[in-house]
Amino acid sequence: MSESHSRSKEATLKVYRGDGAQGQFETYKVPMEAGMVVLDAIHYIQANYAPDLAVRWNCKAAKCGSCSAEVNGHPSLMCKTRMDHFEDGEEIVVQPMKTFPLIKDLVTDVSWNYRVNEKIKPFSPDESDTKEWVIYQEDIERVQEFRKCIECFLCQDVCHVLRDHEKKDGNEQFMGPRFLVRTAGLEMHPKDTADRLDYLKNEGHIGYCNITKCCSEVCPEEIHITDNAIIPLKERVVDEYYDPLAKVFKNMFGGGKNK
């Protein structure tokens, strides 16, 4: 790492400024520091040129999922995107997530996600089972993978069903990869007893997902969204609704939910 070398340099950022009604890109010059991330540059702009530049952040350590944006077209966490990953002199374009309505600058209205979440049947253990739970590590590895989700909504942002086809409302609503991950985490919890398959099929419209895997590619937590969450859920839905025999089989020999 050549510290002194990178210190003297300056980066050029083009940042979207504006709201839903109107806006444009503004160009800012920011001195480079070793190890700097895009969020540092945004904060520099705030403190020195534009106090009212709107941006969300909390942890600065890729743990809270607040600072999602599109950096040079890639859905990214700004606190995790290193400035030295760009070429010398390359313009760094920072804009808000496209899939959600813009509030201002880099901040979008992500409240839709919270409304989708509310509709998912919550964790439902057998209330009569009052003994201390014995759960083995190997039976929860997968669930723990899903529970790593930091709700950055980058997967929701990149998914073409939401991004291009805007299937967010009414009876065509697609719940999106984030909430398929959440549902998978509940469905595969060894102590859960609820059934969410009808919801997945008829309200969350899991069928809209055509397994492009774009969501898995952007996930900062490296959750295997498609392979580990969506595909197994799709299989369960298929077994339930289209292949009753397979369902009976699964329930008898494990692998399905024991109810």
Partner: protein, 606 residues
């Protein structure tokens, strides 16, 4: 300029909870479980509060790994860690109730790491005699907040996201409501309520090197203080020994104590395990005598076996480790970027990645360091405030009727120094109690109290002022100035001559803050938000400086160069207590409640 108060969005709840971290969520769940209507207000999006960042674990004497553990030992460790300045009743309730609260989280869907026989796994942490921290890798806070959030949402709690409370409104001496604004567009909202639970977290943004986020601007402490509550123990600010020191952009970012809990070694630039030289006499017998014994303990911990070896000196309490690192660096034995080395790379790399996944990624991505291949560089960072709003242990009520407080914003539980993992447990134990306390109180009121329109009017004017001024200092500059003052004059090591300057400079800064100006409109304008936050920050800065100057001894996180010893006789039984007296901050040293005989006995045995 007067606003028409009737036109402000006004909502009514039996209880308003300010803050949606672990404490606020748990409080709101409890209020709602009592059948009352509750509004939960938070500055960020739901699920992004500080609690989400907690890494290492939640402390509860479940005795799943070390069967010898029990609430009595947890209580004793907590009191010893806090140098007995803790509110003993809080420490007792905490130790007794934490196991139930953790099991409750499991029942609500939290998926903790497991022991071989399928129980909740527990790891070692500084100051805890036994392996006590229930955890999920190094993302325990995320697991906890998501569990509580989902539980709360499905229970029908009304959440007001990205909404900042700026004023508590009273009816005579009791609480009646609160004023807030939405960050999105500056729109105002008025809450009518019978009770308020403050669960707004800490004050870490008064320092420059901090593990805390923009949210930690002392809002709850300041709102309560303005409303007539007392603040205690504000001199006790925890500097976590291991923050990142490089690169500059992440300076202060936390490196979980879990690294040391899993066997991480601290060394200076001479390769010495310096912590052996810094163990206080009073607890030295609990630690390994040499490198060999420490290694035996670590080997046994990794293998999941019992051992008679004592734990490594790296697991001393945070105040002590932070001072040791500071001293090593100051005396020229530091690492290239002004820290010391923390090394876990001698262990199997798969194990390190599995046990500390987010640390692995944090260093790899932000510092180009592979922690499975070489050491990290770490140094102290401002992390937590032990002091806070004074509350009754059982009900969490402040001295203002109807105002309750829980979590980091409340004081007393942790005394002079908090043990790692004792915050997450504090949140659920006292979050629940505050929820219960507030619900009981609200049920006891026959009608909704009424606040005065003139108070609302004054609060609105104060909020709008920075946007209306045509000149005045920039909020970011003032914030930076505050950070510099606090770090320079009221930092890890303190002495009267410097703190006196600090107090003066804080007073000058307060005057400047009253003139702060910002451009732009009300639409999501972080500069304007910071103007309001500065008003809270300066209360905390003054409180920390004034309390620190007054305590003429060294105890826990409060280290005086001019008074290096613990002075039990004079200072061991009083809390620095602050209250608002007109425009002045009144400081008193009020006696601590004394511990009952049966609890005192717990300190006689080793």
């Amino acid at each position: 300029m007067t606003s028409n108060i009737e036109s402000i969005e006004t909502v009514e709840h039996d209880v308003i909870v300010v803050g949606a971290g672990g404490a606020g969520l748990r409080a709101a769940i409890e209020v709602s479980a009592q059948g009352l209507s509750v509004g939960l207000v938070c500055k960020s999006l739901l699920g992004k509060a500080h609690t989400v960042m907690a890494e290492g674990g939640v402390a509860a004497a479940l005795a799943n790994v070390d069967q010898e553990d029990g609430w009595e030992t947890h209580f004793r460790d907590t009191m010893n860690g806090g140098k007995k300045l803790n509110n003993w009743r809080m420490a007792q309730l905490h130790a007794q109730e934490a196991p139930d609260r953790v099991k409750e989280l499991e029942r609500w869907g939290a998926v903790f790491d497991r022991t071989k026989d399928g129980k909740i796994l527990q790891r070692a942490f500084g100051g805890h005699k036994w392996k006590r921290l229930c955890h999920v890798g190094d993302r325990t806070g995320l697991e906890m907040i998501r569990t509580l959030q989902d539980r709360g949402v499905h229970q029908g709690i009304k959440v007001y996201m990205e909404c900042t409370i700026t004023k508590l409104l009273k009816d005579g001496d009791k609480i009646a409501g609160a004023l807030g604004y939405y960050r999105e567009d500056g729109r105002l909202i008025l809450f009518k309520t019978k009770a308020v639970v403050l669960a707004s977290g800490g004050v870490g943004k008064i320092y420059s090197i901090t593990s805390n986020s923009w949210e930690y601007t002392a809002d709850g402490q300041s709102l309560a203080y303005e409303a007539g509550a007392e603040l205690i123990d504000m001199e006790f600010v925890q500097f976590h020994p291991t923050g990142m020191v490089w690169p500059p952009g992440v300076r202060g970012l936390l490196v979980t104590e879990g690294v040391r809990g899993e066997g991480g070694l601290l060394t200076n630039n001479k390769g010495e395990r310096f912590m052996f030289n810094y163990l206080p006499e009073s607890t030295r017998h609990e630690f390994a005598a040499d490198v060999k014994e420490a290694k035996e303990w670590i080997d046994a911990a990794i293998a999941g076996q019992k051992t008679t070896a004592r734990r490594p000196p790296e697991l001393s309490t945070r105040d002590n480790v932070a001072r040791a690192i500071y001293t090593e660096v100051k005396e020229g034995r530091g690492s290239p970027h002004g820290g010391v080395f923390l090394d876990i790379s001698y262990q199997d790399s798969d194990r390190v990645r599995k046990k500390l996944p987010s640390m692995y990624h944090q260093f790899k991505e932000l510092a180009d360091v592979d922690i499975t291949a070489g050491p990290m560089e770490v140094g102290p960072t401002c992390h937590y405030i032990m002091g806070g709003i004074k509350v009754d242990a059982d009900t969490a009520q402040t001295r203002v009727p109807g105002i309750f407080a829980a979590g980091e914003v409340a004081g007393g539980m942790h005394g002079a120094n908090r043990l790692g993992g004792n915050s997450l447990s504090d949140l659920v134990v006292f979050g629940r109690r505050a929820g219960l306390g507030a619900a009981e109180y609200a049920k006891g009121l026959k009608e909704m109290p009424k606040f005065k329109d003139s108070d609302v009017q004054a609060a609105i004017e104060e909020l709008d002022a920075p946007l209306n001024r045509t000149e005045g200092p920039n909020p970011y500059d003032l914030h930076k100035k505050m950070n510099e003052i606090m770090s320079a004059y009221v930092g890890i090591f303190r002495e009267a001559s410097e703190m006196k300057i600090g107090v003066e400079k804080v007073a000058e800064l307060k005057k400047e803050i009253a003139k702060v100006r910002v451009g732009g409109g009300k639409k999501f304008n972080p500069g304007w938000h910071l103007c309001r936050d500065l008003k809270n920050l300066i209360v905390a800065a003054e409180a920390v400086a004034v309390s620190a100057l007054s305590r003429e001894e060294s105890r826990g996180a409060h280290s005086r160069l001019d008074f290096p010893n613990l002075e039990d006789e004079k200072w061991g039984h009083v809390n620095s207590t602050l209250s608002k007296d007109g425009d002045k901050m009144k400081l008193e040293h009020k006696p601590l409640a004394s511990m009952p005989a049966d609890l005192k006995k717990l300190f006689e045995t080793k």
